[in-house]
C-alpha cells in the first residue's frame, strides 16, 4: 500500500484526545478561505476533505470571475458579501501571491428589446453599489470590443469585473493557514458524528479515526446534505446544477479583452465568453439540474456543447473558427431553499451548516469567511483572540507560479537547470517547476494536483506529451512506484493493479 500523503497529520495527532476548537469539513474555496481567516486567531483548527487536494470538487470547475455583484439580487446576503469582496480582491491577490486581472466585462444588447433592458441592468448595478458601470452606444461598444457582432445595439461596461485563478486561490489560502499552524487532513470521509449534542463532538472517518472538536463547520458543498443528515441538521435540498464549458486555444484570447455577457432572461443568465487568467477563452456555462446521486453531473454532452458554441458566437461570431482544446463541467451547489443558506447551531449547539454557495462563492470567499467567523463568535461562543504571530500572506520567496515564467530570466535557469528542462510543451512548464510544487506545503502528489498548480497537462494537447513524464517525475521525486501514481487519489491509478493470474483479463 502506498503511503498516501494525507495532509500534515500523522496518526498519533489524529487520535489525540485534545479536541479541536473548529473542524472545517470541506476544503473547497470557502473551507480554505475560512481556514485562512481562522488561522489569524489563537485556535486549534482542522481542515479536512475526503479528496486528496484542496478545491478538488466544485471549486475546480469555477469560471473564476471575480464578480462586482452588479447583477445580484439587491439586499441579499450574497449581494452584500460579493460586493464587499470585490473591493478586497486586489489586496487579497497581492497577499496570497495569486494572479488577478481587472479585465472588465461588457453586457451586449443585440435586439431593441435587449437594448431597453440595459437601463434596468444599469439601475440594478447602481443600487448594488457598483456605481462605476457605464452605458455604451453601439459605436462605443464596437470600439472597445471590435470582435462583437456588427449589429450590436449597445452595451453596458462593468470596469471592475475581474478574473483570477480558480485553482491557486484555494491552494494559497490553505498554504497560509498551514503556515499558521492549522492542521489539514485529506482522504477523510466523515461517516458518523458521535456526541453531536455534547460540547465535545467526535467526527468518525471512513478509516475509523475519531477526531474531537467543539465546533463543526459544514462547508462540504455537494456533500453538505449527507453530512447534515449525520447530525440532524435542518431541512434543505441540494440540486447540483451542471455548467458545461468550452475551452478555446490561446490564439483566440487576443480578440477579446473583457468578459462578454448576454442580456439575462428570466430563465438563465445565458452563455458568457470569458477570458481566463491563463490566456485562453472559455464559453459557458449551461444550466442543467441533476439529483445528488447522479454520477454524470461532471460529464459533458455533445448537444449542450454545440448549443454553447452557438450561444457564444452570438457575442463573438469569430469563435466558431477557433479551435476548442478542451471541455469541462462545473457543478454549482444549488440549494432549493436559497443561496447562501447558513444555519448556526443547526440541530445542535456548535454545528454550522453553510450550503447553497454557488459560483459567486469564489468571489465572496474572503467576506463569507469573515461573516462565518462572526457567526461562530456570536452564536457558537467561539473565543477570538488574535494571534500576533500569524501571517496573512504567502512568502515572497514562494514560487510565483506559472504566470511568471522562470525562463523570462535566463539567470534563474542557469542556477537551476531543471527550470530549463521543459516538460509541458504547450504551456512551457519545466521539470524544475513541477519539483518545486511537489515540495510545496500541501505536498501535492496526484496528476491533477500538479496540473492545477503548474498547468502541465492543461494545454492544447491535454497531456499527450507530458502526462506520463509528469507521472515519472512524481514517482522519481517522491519515491512512489509509477504504477501507483493517480489522477485524484486512490482508485484512480494510472494502470490497473496486477492480478494474481498476471496477464489475464478481468472478463
Amino acid at each position: 500500500m502506498v503511503d498516501w500523503p494525507d495532509g500534515n497529520l500523522d496518526a498519533a495527532v489524529r487520535f489525540d484526545e485534545d479536541p479541536y476548537d473548529v473542524i472545517i469539513v470541506g476544503a473547497g474555496v470557502v473551507g480554505c478561505a475560512l481556514a485562512y481567516k481562522l488561522s489569524q486567531y489563537r485556535l486549534r483548527v482542522l481542515l479536512l476533505d475526503k479528496n486528496y487536494d484542496v478545491g478538488e470538487a466544485t471549486s475546480k470547475g469555477n469560471s473564476a470571475i471575480v464578480h462586482t455583484g452588479f447583477d445580484a439580487a439587491p439586499g441579499t446576503l450574497e449581494s452584500q458579501l460579493v460586493t464587499q469582496a470585490s473591493r478586497q480582491w486586489p489586496e487579497l491577490a497581492e497577499k496570497l501571491k495569486i494572479p488577478f486581472e481587472k479585465c472588465g466585462a461588457m453586457v451586449l444588447a443585440i435586439t431593441d428589446e435587449q437594448n431597453k433592458q440595459l437601463d434596468t441592468i444599469h439601475a440594478k448595478a447602481v443600487s448594488n453599489g457598483v456605481d462605476d458601470v457605464r452605458l455604451l452606444s453601439a459605436a462605443q461598444t464596437r470600439e472597445l470590443e471590435p470582435s462583437v457582432p456588427q449589429d450590436v445595439l449597445g452595451g453596458l461596461l462593468i470596469p471592475r469585473e475581474s478574473i483570477a485563478d480558480p485553482f491557486t486561490t484555494s491552494i494559497a489560502y490553505a498554504e497560509v493557514a498551514l503556515a499558521n499552524g492549522i492542521d489539514i487532513l485529506f482522504g477523510a470521509e466523515i461517516v458518523e458524528i458521535e456526541d453531536a449534542d455534547k460540547t465535545i463532538k467526535k467526527l468518525v472517518t471512513a478509516r475509523n479515526d475519531r477526531i474531537a472538536t467543539r465546533i463543526i463547520v459544514n462547508v462540504a458543498g455537494l456533500g453538505s446534505r449527507r453530512l447534515a443528515d449525520l447530525y440532524g441538521g435542518d431541512e434543505f435540498d441540494i440540486n447540483p446544477r451542471r455548467g458545461q464549458f468550452l475551452i478555446f486555444d490561446k490564439y483566440s484570447r487576443s480578440a477579446i479583452k473583457r468578459i462578454l455577457l448576454p442580456i439575462p432572461t428570466a430563465q438563465t443568465k445565458g452563455v458568457l465568453v470569458i477570458p481566463t487568467i491563463f490566456g485562453n477563452l472559455i464559453a459557458g456555462p449551461t444550466a442543467e439540474d441533476f439529483s445528488l446521486d447522479d454520477e454524470e453531473v461532471t460529464d459533458t454532452t455533445l448537444e449542450m456543447l454545440q448549443s454553447l458554441l452557438s450561444g457564444a458566437s452570438r457575442l463573438f461570431p469569430g469563435l466558431v473558427d477557433q479551435p476548442v482544446i478542451g471541455t469541462f463541467s462545473g457543478v454549482r451547489c444549488n440549494c432549493s431553499q436559497g443561496s447562501y443558506w447558513i444555519r448556526s447551531n443547526d440541530g445542535h449547539q456548535g454545528i454550522v451548516t453553510v450550503t447553497g454557495i454557488r459560483s459567486t462563492g469564489f468571489t465572496s470567499s474572503p467576506t463569507l469567511a469573515e461573516y462565518l467567523i462572526k457567526e461562530l463568535h456570536e452564536k457558537c461562543g467561539l473565543n477570538l483572540e488574535k494571534n500576533p504571530n500569524a501571517v496573512d500572506s504567502r512568502p515572497e520567496s514562494n514560487w510565483p507560479g506559472w504566470w511568471q515564467r522562470p525562463f523570462a530570466n535566463g539567470e534563474l535557469v542557469k542556477q537551476n537547470p531543471d527550470l530549463g528542462k521543459i516538460i509541458c510543451y504547450c504551456e512551457n512548464i519545466s521539470r524544475g517547476e513541477i519539483i518545486q510544487h511537489l515540495d510545496s506545503p500541501l505536498k501535492p502528489r496526484t496528476l491533477d494536483a500538479i496540473k492545477r498548480r503548474t498547468r502541465a497537462q492543461m494545454g492544447r494537447c491535454q497531456g499527450f506529451d507530458c502526462q506520463i513524464k509528469v507521472a515519472e517525475i512524481i514517482s522519481e521525486h517522491c519515491g512512489i512506484p509509477l504504477s501507483k501514481i493517480t489522477k485524484r487519489g486512490p482508485e484512480s491509478e494510472i494502470v490497473p493493479a496486477p492480478t494474481a493470474a498476471g496477464n489475464e483479463g478481468k472478463g
Binding site: 482544446i325 535566463g410 504547450c426
Partner: protein, 327 residues
C-alpha cells in the same frame, strides 16, 4: 537580453523529417546547420516504439522493399546518419517564441537558459499529435484516469514495462489504432474493441491483415453522433448514445487522427488554417514568410516515418534554392 547565435539553417524538430532535412543539407555542403529538439533524444515518434523480442514491428521501410521495422531501430539508423554530419544538435531545447520577419527563434534549455537563434532559412519539422477527445468532436462524457493517447500507451508499455489496461477500447481506426491494438495484446491485454464514427476502419485491408498476426481486434463502426466516456475514477466503459449500449472496458486509447504541431507558426503570425491547424504552404513547402519552410507531419495528414524523412530531404533542396537566391 539573451544571447543570439547565427546559423545558415535552423531546423525545429529532430524527428524523421528534421533529420532528413539536416542530412540532405550536410550532403549538399550547407555549413552551420542547427537542429533543435525539445525532448532529450532524437528520433521523434518512431523512437517510442521500442525494439523487443516478439514485439510488434510497426514501421515499414518501403525504400528497402517493404521490410517491417521497429521504430526504435529506425530512430537509431537516423541517429547514425546524423552523427556522420557536422550538424549542431540542440537537445532539450524548447522553442518558446518565433519572430517570422526577423528569421529568429528563441529557445530555452538547461545549459544556456534562454538563447535566440537566427538563420537565413528555418525549417519547421514539428510533427503532429493525436486529437484530444474534444477535438474529435464526437467523444464526450466523463474525464477519468486511463484515457490515454497512443503516445502515452507507448511510454507506459515500452518505456516503463507497465500494462495500462486489460480490456481496451480504442477510439479511432487508422494504422496507429491497429498497431496499438497489437501492442496491447502482446503486452498482455485482451483483443481491443476499436470504435470509430465511420462504417469501415480507416486502416487499409492489407495493413489490418498484417496486424492480425498479433491481435484480432473487433471493429465497431458507430453511426452514433456521440460516444460518451464512462467512469468516475478510472475509465470503465464507453456509451454509444444512439444505441444506448455500454461497452465495458478498463482503459481507453485515443489513437491517430493527427493534428499538426503548428502552434509556433500561429504564434509567429505565419499563416495557419483553422481549425485544422495546417500551416498554409506554397511551392516547395514555403510558409507565408520568406525563409520559413515546413516538413513532415506538420503539413497535415498522416504519414509514415520514411515519408517524413524523404519529405525533409525534398524540403532541404528547396531551402538550398532559397539560400542561393538570397545570397
Amino acid at each position: 537580453m539573451n544571447s543570439t547565435k547565427h546559423f545558415s539553417v535552423v531546423i525545429i524538430g529532430a524527428g524523421p523529417a528534421g533529420i532528413g532535412a539536416a542530412i540532405a543539407l550536410y550532403k549538399r555542403g550547407v555549413k552551420s546547420v542547427a537542429l533543435v529538439e525539445r525532448s532529450d533524444k532524437i528520433g521523434g515518434i518512431p523512437s517510442l516504439y521500442k525494439k523487443k523480442k516478439g514485439g510488434v514491428r510497426t514501421f515499414i521501410r518501403w525504400s528497402r522493399g517493404g521490410i517491417p521495422f521497429f521504430g526504435e531501430d529506425y530512430a537509431h539508423w537516423l541517429g547514425e546518419q546524423l552523427s556522420k554530419t557536422d550538424v549542431q544538435l540542440w537537445l532539450q531545447s524548447q522553442v518558446i517564441e518565433i519572430e517570422a520577419k526577423e528569421n529568429r527563434i528563441t529557445l530555452v534549455n538547461p545549459d544556456e537558459g534562454r538563447v535566440s537563434l537566427t538563420a537565413a532559412a528555418i525549417i519547421m519539422a514539428c510533427g503532429s499529435r493525436e486529437e484530444t477527445a474534444s477535438e474529435r468532436g464526437w467523444l464526450t462524457g466523463a474525464r477519468p484516469m486511463r484515457v490515454f493517447f497512443t503516445k502515452q500507451l507507448l511510454q507506459l508499455i515500452d518505456g516503463n514495462g507497465l500494462l495500462p489496461m486489460r480490456n481496451p477500447v480504442i477510439i479511432g481506426s487508422d494504422l496507429i489504432a491497429y498497431a496499438a491494438a497489437a501492442k496491447l495484446k502482446v503486452a498482455g491485454a485482451a483483443d481491443a474493441i476499436i470504435v470509430d464514427n465511420r462504417r469501415r476502419p480507416k486502416c487499409s485491408y492489407f495493413e489490418r491483415l498484417y496486424f492480425r498476426r498479433w491481435s484480432q481486434p473487433n471493429f465497431r463502426g458507430v453511426a452514433a453522433k456521440s460516444v460518451e466516456v464512462v467512469g468516475s475514477k478510472t475509465a470503465s466503459g464507453i456509451r454509444l448514445s444512439r444505441e444506448d449500449e455500454l461497452i465495458p472496458c478498463d482503459g481507453i486509447v485515443l489513437c491517430g487522427e493527427l493534428i499538426p504541431n503548428s502552434e509556433l507558426a500561429l504564434q509567429g503570425n505565419l499563416k495557419v488554417e483553422l481549425p485544422s491547424r495546417k500551416p498554409v504552404v506554397g511551392r516547395d513547402s514555403q510558409l507565408s514568410e520568406p525563409g520559413w519552410f515546413a516538413a513532415g507531419n506538420i503539413l497535415g495528414g498522416f504519414h509514415g516515418a520514411e515519408w517524413c524523412y524523404f519529405n525533409g530531404r525534398r524540403v532541404a533542396r528547396a531551402v538550398i534554392n532559397h539560400l542561393s537566391q538570397s545570397s
